[in-house]
């Protein structure tokens, strides 16, 4: 109640919008829901724009402060500005925009992911050196089984591992744990969402 008096508009907006959407799962409120969701889609896109502006402002501040990492901030701002101007004016489907995406963004991201392959193997190989308990052993054993059943080892598919063992492990054993995780995640989502919808949590600055 106290916080409601402090920021009644924000809380009212959150509750009204939220409960309207929630009630639309039950009652026929499609028109109203479409209207509100249309606003949210636009505001979310504007929020993305706002986030990028904030990132630029932060690095511009670093650039002005002349710290040791100012060069990195300079590169970030320049690349951001050029990309924004090109893509926003020409559109993402234009060749210039596609060139930026194909030759800068995609190779860098994919390379970062590729480097992770080395890191993952290295970490997994050291796992039992650092920690030897039942769960670490289970982790490593079933990771190896799954990998061994995912493709050919030395050019050959290991009998039964890829056809029988791996599917059973991934769909039954791991599937059971995954189902528990999914239910747990949904319960957590519901609890967190309801706290927002009951104004117990106000992560919008109220």
């Amino acid at each position: 109640m106290k916080s409601f008096m402090k920021s009644p508009v924000s809380i009212s907006v959150a509750l009204a919008g939220g409960w309207l959407i929630l009630l639309a799962y039950i009652f026929d409120l499609d028109a109203l829901r479409t209207q509100v969701l249309g606003w949210v889609v636009l505001v979310a896109a504007a929020g993305l724009l706002l986030g990028v502006l904030n990132l630029a402002a932060v690095h511009f501040g670093k650039l002005r402060s002349g710290t040791r990492n100012a060069l990195y901030s300079f590169l970030l701002i320049i690349s951001m500005f050029i990309t924004f101007v090109v893509v926003a004016t020409l559109g993402p489907g234009h060749e210039a925009s596609q060139w930026i995406f194909t030759n800068i963004q995609l190779p860098v991201e994919a390379s970062l992911m590729a480097v992770m392959a080395v890191t993952l193997v290295f970490a997994a190989a050291r796992l039992l050196s650092r920690r030897t308990d039942l769960f670490a052993i289970l982790f490593v054993v079933f990771a190896v089984i799954t990998l061994a059943g995912s493709g050919p080892l030395l050019g050959f598919n290991i009998p039964l591992v890829g056809d029988v063992l791996r599917p059973w492990v991934t769909q039954v054993l791991a599937g059971a744990g995954a189902r528990g995780i999914l239910i747990g995640v949904s319960l957590g989502t519901i609890a967190t969402g309801l706290r927002v919808l009951l104004a117990a949590d106000k992560p919008y600055g109220a």
Partner: protein, 227 residues
């Protein structure tokens, strides 16, 4: 293969090598490339949001229907300044409130109820009678066994996330003994799940490495054909 392709291929190869240099250790070139990537990704995302979402919406709708969304957007942009940031709270509240409702509704109708029902569906009379009726006793027994494993795994995994504990004076709060035992079983299932997930992540990273090497070899091959 035009100049843009050659130039672009060169850049892509260069960036790939510089990122791979991280295997030797963190270095300045790696950081430079990462900052360039962040700038490009952010600029690209902002431009797409403007070009693909905001401008089409403003072009396709009459001004009268844009008053409210423009008001929300205007309020949101007041957050750029700390002095006026409080004015943007209602717009943030709209995003949060609607997002929470969408998440709650989706979680209930899309995951919670179907998965709870699905955990028991292995024991449904229809499925079992179908298997037994066709004389596929092995399938029926397998169905029962798998269903039992999934049911146990689901319940125990959920119990692992149960953190309610009894508080005793001057002692660390502990879960009940029975919950602790069930949670240990669930921990085993989760360890298996994480092991399988790890294998999936490694597979994905491996294919990413393969794709990068493939593109490098392609570029070199095409470049070689030019000369």
């Amino acid at each position: 293969m035009n100049f843009a392709d050659i130039f672009g291929g060169f850049f892509a190869a260069l960036f790939t090598f510089l990122i791979f240099s991280y295997a030797l250790g963190d270095n300045a070139l790696f950081r430079m490339v990462v900052h360039i990537f962040i700038g490009v990704a952010a600029g690209y995302a902002a431009a797409v949001a403007l070009h693909s979402v905001l401008l089409p919406a403003f072009n396709s709708q009459p001004l009268s229907s844009l008053v409210v969304p423009l008001l929300w957007i205007g309020l949101l942009f007041t957050k750029l300044s700390p002095r006026t940031a409080v004015l943007g709270n209602p717009a943030s509240a709209l995003l949060v409130g609607v997002g929470a409702a969408v998440a709650v509704g989706g979680a209930i109708q899309g995951t919670l109820l179907p998965q709870l029902a699905g955990s028991a569906s292995y024991f449904s009379p229809e499925r079992l009678s179908a298997a037994f009726g066709d004389g596929r006793f092995g399938d029926a027994l397998g169905l029962l066994f798998n269903g039992a494993v999934i049911l146990v795994g689901t319940v125990t995994s959920l119990a692992y996330f149960h953190f309610g504990a009894q508080s005793r004076p001057n002692q660390v709060p502990q879960r009940r003994r029975i919950i602790e035992i069930i949670a240990r079983v669930g921990q085993g299932f989760i360890a298996i799940t994480l092991g399988v997930l790890f294998a999936g992540v490694y597979s994905a990273a491996l294919v990413a490495l393969i794709e990068r090497l493939d593109s490098l070899f392609n570029f070199v091959g095409r470049l070689a054909r030019l000369f």
